[in-house]
């Protein structure tokens, strides 16, 4: 009898550990950064003209994606958000913020800086053109040859020499680091992490590369939220 009781207690303890561990994982990333508030979308930086935005700036619904250019699921999720923005013209705008997961994709941070160089040299349109092309050609999982970065710049119509100079300077490293801090504050523990902002400010955080149907439903629900 006591043996069964011990086994039962052991089982419940294991279950509690698993559930507790899963919930704790949500805040662990934020806790790793001492300057970050506990992971919560409410503390996320608001969308401002500083952001890279695809779609109308006046769109009632904003989608903020925290992405890693070497994450295979971010690559898979990219066309989903392209489709959403195309199918909700004037209603949905997409903001991209960097969250390179350095531990498993050491090359991603420099690639994030490369997209910022594209923005510096060619504006918002070139940022998106560069990001689209990068996701298109990267094999993911840190397998993109760094020599491809200036080639992508040339491909999207940027001056290669100026791009290389920008990338080597590391001048956008701080900007990328700020985005990473924001991702941690927003509660991201992996990528892609997407926050849908409704017109009334209500936030809906989507974890992972969820199907188009899921993102569309969340956008529809967000559009129902009136100011």
């Amino acid at each position: 009898m006591s043996h069964h009781l011990t086994l039962s207690l052991l089982g419940w303890a294991a279950a509690a550990l698993l559930i507790g561990g899963t919930l704790a994982a949500d805040n662990a990333a934020a806790q790793a950064n001492p300057t970050a508030a506990p992971g919560n979308t409410e503390f996320m930086r608001p969308v401002t003209p500083r952001d890279h935005l695809r779609g109308s700036p006046d769109a009632p619904v904003k989608i903020v994606e925290f992405g890693d250019t070497e994450c295979p699921l971010c690559k898979r999720f990219h066309p989903t958000l392209q489709r959403i923005v195309a199918e909700y013209p004037g209603k949905v705008a997409w903001v991209f913020r960097h969250y390179p997961v350095d531990e498993i994709h050491p090359k991603a941070r420099k690639e994030a800086e490369a997209t910022e160089c594209a923005a510096e040299l060619g504006g918002n349109d070139k940022f998106w053109a560069y990001l689209d092309r990068l996701y298109e050609i990267t094999p993911s999982n840190d397998k993109l040859d760094p020599a491809e970065l200036p080639r992508i710049a040339e491909h999207v119509g940027l001056n290669r020499a100026r791009f290389e100079s920008c990338l080597q300077s590391g001048k956008h490293a701080q900007r990328v680091a700020e985005d990473v801090d924001d991702a941690l504050v927003a509660g991201a523990t992996g990528t892609p992490y997407t926050v849908v902002i409704a017109p009334n400010g209500r936030l809906f955080a989507i974890v992972g590369a969820q199907p188009y149907a899921t993102v569309k439903l969340v956008v529809d629900i967000a559009l129902q939220q009136r100011k």
């Binding site: 698993l18 523990t189 992996g190 990528t191 199907p211 939220q225």
Partner: protein, 201 residues
């Protein structure tokens, strides 16, 4: 006498257990619950926010629950997707067989079976998610240990844990299957002054 093949042992035990619809139902229920939990739990905040929204119709909320199941095809690589289906299935079978054994034989279960079962389920829960995108529990555990970089050295980038989970659950199923198919006998202890009779499943 030749020992029966492990697969034969497991099949024979499964035939005995799952010939009873109640145990088949139990395995299906537990397997299904574990499967959907893997797909819904990572988005519990999203579900909480949507279900707390009065403007959204219930039909939309129900559609959202169903659509998240499609994440199996978009949010996992091939190995992770396979683990996501196989681990809950094996877990359901394991639990149903353990319950059957305990109820039929009214015997105590040695710790080996329990340990393998819990180990399989726990490693399956830790492995759930995408290792390549840093979105699973193992990343958090490894980051506490300062060993996240070790994942990059593994050929499946952490997907190995899902395979380990399946191996542990199969071991647990085999151990319990061996006990289920073994005939109940009385063991005679010849030594000592007071020979003891003990039922040995």
């Amino acid at each position: 006498m030749d020992k029966p093949h492990p697969i034969h042992t497991m099949v024979e035990a499964a035939k005995e257990v799952f010939a009873r619809p109640a145990y088949l139902g139990l395995a299906a229920l537990i397997g299904l619950a574990a499967f959907v939990a893997q797909l819904w739990l990572p988005n519990y905040r999203l579900l909480g926010a949507v279900f707390a929204t009065p403007e959204a119709a219930f039909a939309l909320k129900a559609q959202l629950l169903a659509s998240l199941l499609g994440g199996l095809f978009t949010n996992f690589d091939a190995v992770a997707a396979f683990s996501t289906v196989a681990v809950p299935l094996l877990f359901g079978i394991d639990v149903a067989m353990i319950v059957y054994f305990l109820r039929r034989r009214r015997a105590q279960l040695p710790r080996g079976e329990i340990a393998a079962g819990i180990g399989g389920a726990a490693s399956g829960a830790i492995a759930a998610g995408c290792a390549a995108c840093g979105s699973f529990l193992l990343i958090t555990i490894l980051s506490f240990l300062g060993a996240t970089g070790a994942l990059a050295l593994l050929p499946l980038r952490g997907g190995e844990l899902g395979l380990l989970s399946m191996a542990l659950l199969l071991l647990s199923i085999f151990l319990i299957a061996r006990r289920i198919v073994a005939p109940a006998v009385c063991e005679i202890r010849p030594h000592g002054n007071t020979p003891a009779l003990k039922e040995q499943p």
